[in-house]
Structure formats: C-alpha cells, structure tokens
C-alpha cells in the first residue's frame, strides 16, 4: 500500500511538473477591485476605469491592458464607486446599459473584488427587441431554450456516464468526478495556449493523458484502497479529499481567473429556423452525440461492454464466470475519465475555463445519474438530458440565476417519489 501511495504521489508530482513548466499565473495581491473587460470573448483594451471612495475621494485609476484586465489596489475594506469612462471605449463598443457606467461595490477584508461591466456591440441591433407577434417569439424562445438545454444535457451526460459506470462497477460515489472535467479542459488549455498547438491537436493529446490519468488513478489509488477493503463511505469521503486537492492544484497552477482557448473563442451565430447557434456548439453537439452512441453500442454489443454490465450487476458472479473484474474496472476508469475530459474541453469552448467549472456541474451530474437510476449507464444518459433540458427551459418562468435550483429541487422530489430513478431497479436502493 505504501508503495502504491508513493507511486501515486510521484504520478501527481509528474503532472505538477508538466504543468509548472509553462503555467502562467496572474494573481491579485491583497484588497483591490479588478476585472476583465471583454466583448464576445475578446478583450477590450485601453479603457479607463476610475475608483473613488463612497465620499467621492479619488482612490486610483487603471487602464485595461491588452488582455482586457484592469485592477486598482485599495487600502482598506469598504464601499467604493467604480466608474468606466465611456469616452475611452473603442469605436463600435458601448455599455449594455449606459446608466450603469458607475457601480458601487463592497470590498471585504483581504478580498479582491471582481467588477463586471457588460458591453455590447454598438453596431449590432439590440437583442430581444425585434418585432414579431408575442406568440411566435415565445415559441421561438422555447425552441432556443430546448436547443440550449440539449446542449447542456449532452455535456452533463458525458460526465454522468463515467460517474454512473464507476458507481455501478465499484460502488464509489465519486465526488472528484467534476474535477476530471476540469483537468481535461486545462490539459487541453496547457497544450493549446501554453505550448501553442491548435486546439484540434491539443484536445486529442489531452484526452489520451486524461485516459492515462484515469487508468493510473485506479491502478495506483482506488484499486489499492479496494484491496485494503476500505469501506464505501470512507472511499466517498476520500474522493471529496481528492476533489479538494485537485481543485486547489488547478487553482495553484492556473490561478483563479477565467481562461479561454486560442481558437474558437468568438464565433458569429447562425440562424437555423427559430434557433440561433454558433457553428462550434453544433459541432460539439455532434461529437457528444457520436460519443454517447458509441458508448451505448459498446456497452450493448462488445465483449468488454457486456463484461462491464456483468460486473456492475454482480461483481462476484462476474468474477467466477471468468471476467477479470479489476481489468474491467480499470478500463471503466480510463474511459470514464477520458469522456469526462472531453466534456470539459467541449464546455471550455463555450464558456471560460475556471478551476471550479467541473465542480459547478457536478451536482447536475448527480441529479442526472439519480434521475436515471444510479449505476445504469443508459439511465444516466436519459436523466442527464432531462436535467439539462429542465435547467434551460425553466428559465421561461424563473430567473436564469435560479435555474440550477429547479434541477436540484427535482432531484429531491424524484428521490421521494421514485428513488430508483427512471430506468433503475428497486433492488439497487438497498
């Protein structure tokens, strides 16, 4: 066991070294107000931002740099007014709401406070004010939200399939699964932005490393714990420790700000019927659907897939009928991590990369898995799509910031009514 821990530590250490080689970190120092000015993912340079105290005493000013960032250090916590000088905005760019050029913010002790100014393209007509009858634009919105829900649901499904298969084969509720998404996204970021490879090259390399990481995680860590007969609850709490560790490691290496890939950042949307979508999100959805179908077919028709389902059903029986249970579990870990990493990379093309991005959808993955039935791969797929769709479509009735709440409430209600989920079987709830 000790040897295994040393090996695992060395493996993690190696990863750290790989990252350290070129990781760039931009950290704020002490109390300050700061922000990044972006329009459609592109930084906006040369905009003057002034900070004054609540009593209008000047504190300092800053001009956004080439990467759109600005920061003004302040001496003590308190309430400050942050003003964006609208005369310095480049031509064609304007504040989304011209009346919100001055924002009052609270800065707490020892905290850096992020201030966001919403920008719009002054040349483009403002969104959401085009004509059209009330009825048709409502259904346009429904169609758009269903599309976005499908998009989110597919990402959740990619994460959830691995989560569910790992649960099915080992009984582990892996709280570190969200971090596997984040690791995938940042591995691709490392090869893409730091080493300068095109994302189409960087992503496959990242997937291979992620698969190796998943394999290694089981070979040197979880597999050893299973051999020690560590209890499932212990393993669950260990996975929380691992999640904390991996997240902090990513924070250490890449900083707390948002990052983005070099390619496919800003794309003009295209209109398909009532839906407006970027080409990259359509391609991402294509990849996601293809991968999910491939996983489904592999589980149903290949020998390995059948073995996986047999192990998930009854490990002892599978073992006695000649299936190498440890090998199956290891492949499940590798494949699950690889698919989760793919989800992370695809998520990274549509939103900023952040060390918390995986953690933020972990609960949605749990919701999807529980809804579909713990331990069943197909259930996880269906459940995730339902959850993604529900999250997006619910914004028709509730504020967008509360959309996650709806999904979590549904999760709790499902557990009350049908704890085994849509496709689960009653015996699994124990």
């Amino acid at each position: 066991m000790r040897r295994a821990v040393i090996a695992f530590t060395a493996f993690m250490g190696g990863l750290i070294l790989v990252f350290l080689a070129g990781a760039s970190t931009a950290w704020a120092e002490g109390e300050e107000v700061r922000g990044t000015l972006r329009l459609q993912g592109q930084p906006v340079q040369g905009v003057k931002i002034t900070v004054t105290s609540d009593a209008d005493a000047p504190v300092g000013d800053a001009t956004t740099g080439a990467d759109g960032t600005w920061s003004v250090p302040i001496e003590k916590a308190g309430s400050y007014k942050v003003t964006l000088d609208q005369a310095t905005l480049p031509a064609g760019k304007a504040l989304r709401d011209p009346n919100r050029g001055t924002l009052t913010v609270q800065v707490f002790e020892g905290n850096a406070r992020n201030v966001l100014f919403g920008l719009v393209d002054a040349n483009a007509p403002p969104k959401g004010q085009d004509g059209g009858g009330g009825g048709s634009s409502y259904w346009d919105r429904v169609a758009q939200l269903v599309f976005e829900g499908l998009n989110l649901g597919l990402i959740i499904a990619l994460g959830a399939v691995g989560l569910s298969l790992i649960f099915g084969t080992t009984g582990l509720t892996n709280f570190a699964h969200g971090e596997l998404l984040t690791i995938g996204a940042f591995l691709a970021f490392f090869f893409n932005t730091v080493l300068g490879l095109h994302l189409l090259v960087a992503a496959p390399i990242a997937l291979v490393i992620a698969a190796a990481f998943g394999w290694g995680q089981d070979r040197f860590f979880w597999g050893q714990l299973r051999r020690r007969k560590t209890g499932l609850i212990s393993m669950m709490i260990i996975s929380i420790g691992l999640a904390l560790f991996l997240r902090a490691l990513l924070l250490f290496l890449f900083g707390g700000g948002g990052e983005s890939y070099d390619q496919y950042v800003a794309q003009a949307g295209i209109q398909i019927g009532p839906i407006s979508a970027t080409p990259k999100s359509l391609i991402a959805m294509g990849i996601e659907i293809a991968v999910l179908i491939a996983v489904g077919l592999a589980l149903t028709y290949t020998r390995l897939g059948k073995a996986t389902r047999a192990v998930a059903d009854n490990p002892a029986l599978a073992s006695s009928s000649g299936i190498n249970v440890d090998r199956v579990i290891r492949i499940v870990w590798a494949a699950g991590t690889c698919i989760a990493a793919l989800a992370g990379i695809l998520l990274g093309t549509t939103q900023n990369l952040n060390f918390q991005m995986g953690q933020q959808i972990l609960l949605l993955m749990f919701a999807g898995v529980t809804l579909g039935g713990l331990g069943t791969a197909y259930g996880a797929l269906v459940g995730s799509l339902v959850v993604g769709m529900f999250v997006q479509v619910s914004t028709l009735w509730i504020p967008p910031e509360m959309k996650t709440i709806g999904a979590l409430v549904v999760l709790i209600i499902v557990l009350m009514v049908r704890p085994q989920g849509i496709l689960g079987r009653r015996e699994r709830i124990g």
């Binding site: 066991m1 821990v5 970190t25 950290w27 704020a28 120092e29 913010v105 609270q106 707490f108 009984g171 509720t173 714990l225 020690r228 560590t230 209890g231 499932l232 609850i233 212990s234 669950m236 709490i237 260990i238 929380i240 420790g241 691992l242 999640a243 904390l244 560790f245 991996l246 997240r247 902090a248 490691l249 924070l251 250490f252 609960l363 749990f366 919701a367 529980t370 504020p399 910031e401 509360m402 996650t404 709440i405 979590l408 409430v409 999760l411 709790i412 557990l415 009350m416 704890p419 709830i429 124990g430």
Partner: protein, 329 residues
C-alpha cells in the same frame, strides 16, 4: 521570518472564532455521522440558515435580535425534517446527495439577484450585530497574553459566547450519549436491522439525530455571522461542509472532545502553515511561489490531509477504530 507573528496568528486562530465555528459545525456532524452514521453533506446549508436568520430578521425587517436566533433554530429543525423525510429510509449516499443539493439550494437562493432586497445578493447583509455587541460586558481594550495572544473586546465577547455554546453543546451531548437514547443511536450506526428487530423506531431516532445536528450547525452559523458582523452567501459553499468533516475526522468521530480538539488543531496548523509560507515568500526565503498561491497550497493540504487521515487513521486522534463504521449499508 517573523516567528512571533506566525505563532501568534496560529494560536489566535486555534482558539479564535474560526475554531468555534468549525467546532460547532463538527459537533453537529458528530451527532449525525459519528454517532448515528448519517452522511449529512449539507452542514453548510444549516450554517447559512442560522447566519441569515439573524441577519435578515435584524437588518432587513428590523425585528429583535433574539427573535432571529429563535427563527434560526426553528428553520434549521424544519430543514432537517424536510431532508430527512424522503431520504432516511434510503441508503446512505442518497442522504449525502440530497443534503449537498439542499445546501446549494440555500446558497443559490440567498445570493440571487431576484431576492437581493431580502438577502442582499452576493454582497450579503451587514449591520445586524449591534444589539449583540451592546450586551458586551468587556470594556474596550486589548485582552490576552502579549505578545502571543491579543483580542479586542468585541472578539472577546464573541469568543466567550462561542466557547460557552461549544461547552453546553458538548455537555448535553455527553449526557445524551450515556443515556439509553444515545445507545440506540450508536446501535443504529452498528446494525440498523438489529435495532429495528428490537422494536425501536429507527426512522424516528435517525430524524432526531438529523434535527439535533442541524440545530447545532445553525448555532455555528450564528457565531459565523456575529463574529464577522456580516453574512456573505459564498462563505457557505460545500467546501465548508467538507472542512467540517476534516475537522471531525481529525479529532475523532464519535468522541465528545473529537470535534473541539480537531477544530483547534485544524486551524492552528492551517494558519501556521499559511502564515508561515506567506511570511517566507514576503521575506524572500521562498521564491518560487507567490503570496496568493499560498491559499491554494493550504487547500491542497486540507484535501491531502483528509485522504491520508481516512487511509491511515480513520479514527483520528481520539477515536476507536473498531467503533468507526465507515461503511455503506
């Protein structure tokens, strides 16, 4: 390296408000997880309910402080009931997922823009602790043992109230766990079916443990809000729950002193390492990291500590390995 400063900060953290907050949160978890074997991963939600009850009652509605305390205790009990009804009959990890989801719901509700008139949005609420500090018997000044320990009179008041709460909660728990009621809880942890076959209502006992633990958690929320004179939604994220678990397992689950010693030691070590590294970076002793990366290193150590504790010493400092049943049923 300014060793006086480093040791002073560490010792102050070890007996300061952080240690109290996490000790209370972990005592609540101890009732649920340590004694009864229930996995509550939503303790942060109970703390948030306690903290926001005081803040909203006083700052938003202008009602008396003690009404806020009462509402906090009541709401924590109600939340525990709501969570327990659907999940206590199911397997342990269902309770874990539901409680973690519930804690996130609480946090997302109080930080939402739509309800910011009531809860203050992401900035939270301030100006609600006046009547608490009006009761402060300590005259202004510095208290402590210079040069190591020094608190102002406001902190002294928080520390006094906080440690008295910890002592009361621990004493009640000590008496309760020696009673037949406590033995039933421990028996449920060891073998639920055996207890059921003896005619005990397992569901009811589990529910009582969940409610008591949640109410103690809301007390931790009171101290959290009052010690900072402010509430901020993102302080009540799931990480808080997991730190409380680390504290509990470090000290030893199913032991009265476990959460208390665990919390003091956790904060002593965390601040010792954090301030030490910060100091080393500032004075140029360590050059390859920046001051802000120290925070990330601290977090990594918490995660690593939790992993290593569970692998090599799941019983923590005081616990008994045979008694710690860390297995799903």
């Amino acid at each position: 390296m300014d060793w006086t400063l480093i040791i002073s900060r560490a010792v102050e953290a070890g007996i300061g408000s952080e240690a109290i907050i996490y000790a209370l949160a972990a005592i609540g978890l101890n009732v649920q997880f340590g004694y009864t074997g229930l996995l509550n991963f939503g303790q942060a939600g109970f703390l948030a309910i306690g903290a926001y009850s005081i803040a909203v009652t006083v700052a938003t509605f202008g009602l008396p402080f003690f009404l806020g305390v009462g509402i906090g205790l009541l709401l924590a009990a109600v939340l525990a009931l709501l969570l327990g009804i659907p999940t206590l009959r199911l397997r342990a990890d269902y309770l874990a997922i539901v409680t973690i989801a519930a804690a996130e719901i609480v946090r997302l509700v109080v930080r939402s823009v739509a309800l910011s008139d009531t809860f203050g949005g992401t900035d939270g609420l301030q100006a609600f602790s006046g009547s608490f500090y009006d009761m402060n018997p300590y005259p202004p000044g510095e208290y402590g043992i210079p040069p190591i320990i020094g608190f102002d009179n406001r902190s002294m008041w928080v520390l006094t109230v906080g440690w008295v709460l910890v002592a009361i909660a621990s004493f009640i728990l000590f008496m309760a766990m020696k009673s037949p009621w406590g033995r039933v809880l421990k028996a449920i942890r060891e073998d639920e079916d055996a207890v059921r076959s003896l005619g005990k209502n397992v569901f009811s006992y589990k529910m009582q443990a969940l409610v008591i633990g949640g109410v103690i958690g809301s007390m931790a929320g009171f101290i959290f809000a009052l010690s900072r004179s402010a509430v901020q939604p993102d302080l009540y994220s799931t990480d808080l729950t997991f730190y409380a678990y680390t504290v509990l397992i470090l000290g030893g689950a199913a032991r009265i002193l476990g959460p208390i010693v665990g919390s003091m030691l956790f904060w002593l070590l965390l601040i010792l390492i954090g301030t030490g590294l910060e100091n080393a970076v500032n004075t140029g002793t360590i050059t390859f990291i920046t001051v802000n990366q120290v925070g990330a290193i601290r977090l990594m150590l918490v995660g690593l500590g939790l992993i290593l504790l569970l692998i090599y010493r799941p019983q923590g400092i005081f616990g008994d390995k045979r008694e710690i049943s860390l297995d799903a049923r």
